[in-house]
Each structure stands twice: as structure tokens, then as C-alpha cells.
């Protein structure tokens, strides 16, 4: 028998005044998985997780988190959940080691080890106000993991971190996954979602547009790969062979530059063909579809009809916003 879902949300609805932020959202987070919530600013991701954490009361819908109702049983639930919240802080003059002590419960693991693991040991006596943005994020992660939570909720986890620190945090999240902890990850960062998540839920205007494993979403919404290379005087036979390869949709020639588009399996077929026509072009490059491409495909696809209906003319700019900072 499979384990029940750690988080089950049915028909969640939340408005602020007349603005509907979450609009009939369904969500399931299976035990032991990393599930990513992705979407543009204002998609309703943070409000959704705040309802799951019991920090906001939904207008409608049902929520069960680790078997508890987060609205009526928040005090039983919260010790089992580790949260890294967006837009929150600690008291300015609270020192790092004092924060660890303050947030420790009897279930807590060794705070010193966690500080060491996240590179904060040298800052144990530093006040929160003196920490850099990255150090604050890492401290929040330490506090989220401190009490051996069964569910970890991470909202914009790596915002403000440099690439090395980001990789370190990713490794920590993978370790959580290996230990069987369930993680709900809210992110703008498609690389992060693709690298960490077992499943991704794409949100738009308070609703789920699509959900599934990153590979599934990529295959469904962005299966086109692109191969580029240059040949000053390409043999007609070579181009003909490439055109007839299984999965090739288009071969485009612009002077010496040749671009081939098609299903991702063409990467293997075109590569093999080029090897037969030695020498292999020095500038050969391959663009493999990513989750980011899938998201663009998703936003440009049939699913857009709902959004276009709700927010006409806003679709393309918001699609760009979602990918803002990525390109």
C-alpha cells in the first residue's frame, strides 16, 4: 500500500479584497518527494504555501497536511513542518547561535552541525542584522531543518545566493530527499526546479496549468531540440540525409550556418551522420529543451486560452516575467 500524500489541497480559494489570488487550486504532495510550485509573481504560490502552513485562513477548500487541518490544528502541525518563508526576518540583534537555541525543540538535531554544514559556524556570535543576504537565507534553512521536520516548505530558497552557495543549498535539499523528507519548493528558478524536483506544478492566476515530472513537462511542452554547425560548402547529400532523419522537423541554411530542429532524438542521429562525414564541425552546438522551454511552450500552448480569457493581452508579457532573470 502506498503512503498517503503529505499535503492534500482540494478547491483552495483565497482572495484579498476583490482580488482572487488562489482560485480553486488542487494539489497533492506525495510523501518523500520534492514538489516544486512554479509560476510568475502573483501566481498565488506564496499564498498557497501560507495556507498550507496555517498562516492564512482559506476562503474555501479543504487542506490536510500530515493528517492535520492547518487552520484548526496549527499548533499540532507546526512542530512537524520546517518553513523557510519569503519576506520574513529575525530580530535584528538576535545572534545566530541564539536563534538556533530559540527555535530548537526537544526534537532538534545538533544546531552546531547544521551551522557547520551551511558555513555559518564562524558567524555564530554575529547579529542577524550583520548577516549578508545569502547568510540569512542559509540561517533560515538551518532553522527550517533544525527540528527534524517531516515536511519542509522552502519559499524562494536560493534568492540572493551566489552560484556556489546555491549549489551547496541544492545539495542539502537533495540530502533531505535521500533521507525521506518531503519538500515543497516554491521557486522562480527553472534550473532549480529541474535540478531538484520530482514533480513540478505550474501555477498561473491562482490555478494549476499543468503538473508532472520535469521530464514529462519538457517532453509535452518543449520536445524540440536545436543543433547548429557551420560548413563553408556543405555537400547536398549531407543536407538531404539530415532532412530525412527520423524526428527532424526543419533544416535551415543561412550561408555556411546550418540549423536543424526536431525531436530531441535527432541529437543522436545528426551527431552520427556528421561523424560519418568527417571532419565534425568545430562549432557544433546543441540546445536541449529545458523546463524553461517547456514553460514557454506551456504558456504559448492550448492552456493559455484560460489565461487569455481571464487576462487578455497580458499573456506574453507575463510569460516573459516568469522567465525574467533567466535569460
Amino acid at each position: 500500500m502506498s503512503e498517503p500524500d503529505v499535503v492534500t489541497v482540494r478547491g483552495l480559494r483565497k482572495s484579498y479584497g476583490t482580488r482572487v489570488v488562489v482560485d480553486g487550486l488542487d494539489l497533492a504532495v506525495p510523501a518523500g518527494e520534492i514538489v516544486g510550485l512554479i509560476g510568475a509573481n502573483g501566481a498565488g504560490k506564496t499564498t498557497t504555501v501560507e495556507c498550507i502552513e496555517g498562516l492564512r485562513k482559506p476562503d474555501a477548500g479543504s487542506l490536510r497536511v500530515l493528517g492535520y487541518d492547518p487552520v484548526t490544528q496549527a499548533e499540532e502541525l507546526r512542530p512537524l513542518v520546517g518553513s523557510q518563508l519569503q519576506d520574513s526576518a529575525l530580530p535584528d540583534r538576535l545572534r545566530v547561535a541564539e536563534a538556533v537555541e530559540l527555535f530548537s525543540t526537544p526534537r532538534a538535531q545538533d544546531g552546531g552541525e547544521l551551522l557547520e554544514r551551511f558555513g555559518l559556524s564562524p558567524r555564530r556570535r554575529s547579529a542577524f542584522s550583520s548577516l549578508s543576504g545569502g547568510e540569512r537565507q542559509r540561517l533560515f534553512l538551518v532553522l527550517a531543518l533544525l527540528n527534524r521536520p517531516q515536511l519542509v516548505i522552502l519559499d524562494e530558497l536560493t534568492q540572493g545566493l551566489d552560484p556556489a552557495a546555491r549549489r551547496g543549498v541544492w545539495a542539502a535539499v537533495r540530502q533531505l530527499h535521500d533521507e525521506g523528507t518531503t519538500v515543497l519548493l516554491v521557486t522562480h528558478d527553472m534550473d532549480e526546479a529541474e535540478a531538484l524536483c520530482d514533480q513540478v506544478v505550474v501555477m498561473r492566476a491562482g490555478r494549476v496549468l499543468d503538473a508532472g515530472a520535469p521530464a514529462y513537462l519538457v517532453d509535452r511542452h518543449a520536445s524540440t531540440a536545436r543543433i547548429r554547425f557551420s560548413m563553408p560548402d556543405p555537400p547536398a547529400l549531407l543536407l538531404d540525409q539530415v532532412r530525412r532523419l527520423d524526428g527532424v522537423h526543419e533544416v535551415e541554411r543561412d550561408g555556411a550556418r546550418i540549423t536543424v530542429r526536431g525531436h530531441r532524438r535527432i541529437i543522436a542521429y545528426v551527431g552520427a551522420t556528421l561523424v560519418r562525414w568527417e571532419p565534425v564541425p568545430a562549432d557544433l552546438s546543441v540546445h536541449v529543451p529545458s523546463l524553461e522551454d517547456a514553460l514557454l511552450g506551456l504558456l504559448d500552448g492550448d492552456h493559455a486560452s484560460y489565461v487569455n480569457h481571464v487576462m487578455p493581452d497580458a499573456f506574453t508579457p507575463l510569460g516573459r516575467e516568469l522567465l525574467g532573470g533567466q535569460r
Binding site: E53, L55, R78, S83, S88, L94
Partner: protein, 245 residues
Amino acid sequence: MNTAIGKLVRAELKLMTRDPLVLTFVFAFPIVTMLIIGGAFGTKPDPGFDFTNPAHWYVASYLTVVIAATGLVMLPVHLASYRERGVLRRFAAAGFPRWSFATAQLIVGLVTTAVACALLLAVAAPVYGIPAVHDVWRVAVALPLGAIAFVSIGVLLGSLLPSARAAQAVGLLIFFPSFLLGAGGPPPHVMGSVVRKVADPMPLTLLTNAVREPWLGLGTATGSLITVAALAVAALILAARRTAL
């Protein structure tokens, strides 16, 4: 003392000693102004001070200045700042019960008041001397009741005001007229009738009367004491109802 409240109280007391606003406004300001104004009117019994030593009049009055500074300025700014910056959300998400933070602030406010009052008396003793307390029980009842009333008002203001700046503006706007008319300013006998009409029903005036009159043997101030007790109960109930993070 390892419960949520115990941990919060310990942490907040530690943080209070690192907060320049608390150190200056709650500890230093009442002492400095008490020393200045106590010296300004001399130490000879004066009819304007109900024939008491003016310096003693102010020593007996300034404990309530400490209470008002804590309740009207320190706590509202502190709590509103925590709300504005998301500190309260973080505590809530970490599993601290919804009421624990406000309760911790009530305890911290009362401890701060007690320590600051003791410090004020320690400074006053060698300079002006501490006047004999004529009615110990009434003073001993009035001071904690006043502290509960003003600390509760502080928690209430902190839970209602949206930002630290708003809390500071509102707190100071309430504090300074209360301070000048009800505790640390000129004695009531030198005030004009209109000013006295404004000053008399102010909570800090009532509290100061309830402490100063039995302390210096000027009266029982029973009416003021009952009003302060009612204010303490009402403010405490309202503050308790606003403890949602």
C-alpha cells in the same frame, strides 16, 4: 522555563539590553528628567506641591514616567517593527503558539518597568533622598496595576499599528502630553483650569495620583486607583484578544 514563553522571554530580555531605544527612553530619559526637574524647584516644602519637598514630589511621580515610556513607546515600536518585518510570521511558522509572543511581551514589559523603576530610585536616593511611603499597600497595588494597564496598552497599540514608524509617531504623540500634564511636568496647582480639565482624566495622571498621593501622605486617591484598575483589566482583555500574529 524551557517552554515557548520562557524561551521568548529570555531572548527578548537579552535583546532589550541591546536596544538603544529601550536603554535611552525607558532607562535614561526618566532619570535625567527627574534629576533636572527635581533640582529646578529645590527641596524646601512648597505650597505649589501640597507643602511637600518638590524633589520628593517628582521622585514619587517619576516611577509612572518609566511605566508610560515602556507602555506607550517601547512596546508599540518593538511589536509593530516585528510585525512589519515578518518576525512574528517566522515565530508563528516555527510553532510558537499564537498567544505566546504577546504574553512574552507583557512579561518583558513588566520586568523592564520593575528594573527601570529600581534604577531610578537608586539614582534618586543619594541625590534627593527617597521620600517615606505613607501608605505602602496602596502604592504597592497602584504600581503593578498601572504597569499592567500601560504594558497592555503598549501590546494593543503594537498589534494595531501597521509599522514601526507609525507606532513611534502615535506613541510619542500620546506619551509627551501625558508626561507633561500627568507626571513629569508642572504640578497641577500651577496649571490653568482648561489644562487641568484636559490633564485630570488622562490615564497617566490618574496613575500618578494613585501612586503619589498615598506615597506622600496627601490622600488615598481611591477614585484614581479604581479607574487605573478598570483600565488595567480592560487593556489586558483587549490586548489578549489581539494576540493573533
